[in-house]
């Protein structure tokens, strides 16, 4: 592309906002690839985002995340709301390749312009999402989608990053996946705003839901007035059968309730957390770019070699590089 990145970004962003799906898809590619076009476009789009409801869907592999996303799309379309999906699957740590299979469950919307599904490979990013998933969600948000569903890779116990990227986090469980002790372990269940026991037609689903309800209830008496102690969330526990759509209207109602109640409290906190992690990510990237730039790259390589050779510890290396950046700034002035 010989076009100036800023001009290209403006053209793509404006076309995406006007409803051109091809430009939107191209923009998402730029975002995924961290290009100059992406940065210009995100600068333009960020102030225009913030109206969409960002919903995270996470849970172990095979719990039914993609099927539930498909069922939610159907429910949202019935209500006339547009929906975008960011579906993340893992990348191979060996070849960098990925098999993105979430669309298999989301077939019925080829001619519906109110639905846009984008698969993303995690590209080595741990935590359940790709490093660019939140930016992709912002692009969808600014392009006017009412709801953005962020489907994580199949998660284990501690991939809680989605909670920072979403306004409302849904954690999926399958029936009989563990006993009550599993439910009181720290981690994934703690970040849930809504817990869904899917495959509700399987034996044990109601029992699993009852156990989760009992275990996720916060202790009755706690120093609730002590603002220095973070309060645990009190997630609703619902049962769905995503394959048939049973329980999905109730889930959508719960999502809307959380959104409505959360505007002042939970959602604002989630959005502030998200802003924090976004700024931090860009800050690290910028810092790293400056350290790799001509003039600094030599010192950076030297410091890394010294750490590899155990002549320097990583902390001292980082301090040395930060000091060198400071000196470089002084000299420029």
């Amino acid at each position: 592309m010989t076009q100036d990145p800023a001009e290209r970004a403006t053209a793509l962003a404006d076309a995406a906002r006007a409803g051109d799906r091809r430009s939107l898809a191209r923009l998402l590619t730029a975002v995924e690839n961290h290009t100059a076009v992406a940065e210009h476009a995100l600068r333009r789009l960020y102030p225009l985002a913030g109206a969409a409801h960002l919903v995270g869907i996470t849970g172990p592999p095979g719990a039914g995340k993609s099927t539930l996303v498909a069922a939610l799309i159907a429910e949202l379309r019935k209500a006339g709301r547009s929906v975008a999906v960011v579906a993340v699957d893992p990348s191979s740590p060996i070849t960098g390749g990925a098999l993105l299979g979430d669309r298999v469950r989301m077939q019925s919307y080829a001619s519906d312009d109110g639905v846009f599904i984008r698969s993303m490979a995690a590209r080595g990013h741990a935590g359940g999402l790709a490093s660019t998933s939140a930016a992709a969600a912002a692009v969808f948000d600014a392009s006017g989608f009412d709801v953005v569903l962020l489907e994580t890779v199949g998660t284990g116990q501690s991939e809680v990053e989605v909670a920072a990227a979403a306004d409302t986090t849904v954690v999926l469980e399958a029936p009989e996946m563990g006993d009550e002790v599993q439910a009181i372990k720290a981690g994934l269940l703690e970040v849930a705003d809504i817990v869904v026991v899917n495959k509700g037609d399987r034996p044990g689903a109601q029992r699993t839901a009852a156990q989760l309800r009992a275990m996720l209830m916060p202790p009755a008496t706690r120093e609730v007035d002590d603002p220095s102690r973070p309060l645990p969330k009190r997630p609703e526990v619902l049962v769905t059968t995503a394959a048939t759509g049973d329980g999905v209207p109730e889930l959508l109602a719960a999502l809307d309730r959380h959104r409505a109640h959360g505007v002042d409290g939970a959602t604002r906190a989630a959005r502030r957390n998200r802003a924090g992690s976004q700024v931090r990510a860009v800050l690290i990237e910028r810092l790293w770019d400056r350290l790799a730039a001509p003039g600094m790259a030599g010192a950076t390589d030297e410091a890394i070699d010294a750490v590899a050779g155990h002549e320097l510890d990583p902390y001292a290396a980082a301090d040395r590089l930060l000091a060198a950046l400071g000196t470089a700034d002084e000299e420029r002035r």
Partner: protein, 135 residues
């Protein structure tokens, strides 16, 4: 700017239910370092083209064993062009009679892979012929 792996859509148009080949290829291309979107069975040309557009893929690989390739493949190619995806590399795999290969090429197919093709051959062809997205 980081290079992204080439992104390939593997799709099965039409009504045959034989997806083992498509799945083996999807897995094999994953191992070759591609990002592979697999969409499953019984796709209409419209579903395939929508997926290609939304995913912004570099390559569309169609697997057909039903014999309906002369109907379905040109439709996919035409719709890709109609929706501005004329730079996407289209390949076909499956049971395709020799006589149909030239007409399929004329319709816009870059290569037809028959039985016995190795995954390495497919991967090498894609690497040599796809135009990676540059944004």
């Amino acid at each position: 700017m980081t290079d992204r792996p080439l992104k390939v859509l593997i799709a099965k148009p039409g009504l045959d239910g034989h997806d083992r080949g498509a799945k083996v290829l999807a897995r094999g291309l994953r191992d070759e370092g591609f990002e592979v979107v697999y969409t499953g069975l019984r796709q209409t040309p419209e579903m395939i083209v929508t997926a290609a557009l939304q995913e912004d893929v570099d390559v569309v690989g169609l697997s057909i064993l039903s014999g309906a390739h002369m109907t379905l493949v040109p439709r996919v190619c035409t719709q890709l062009r109609e929706r501005g995806l004329d730079d996407v590399l289209v390949t076909v795999g499956g049971i395709i009679p020799d006589d149909d290969v030239e007409p399929l090429r004329a319709a816009g197919v870059a290569s037809v892979f028959g039985p016995g093709t190795t995954i390495r051959e497919v991967a090498d062809f894609i690497r040599a012929n796809a135009t990676p997205r540059a944004e």
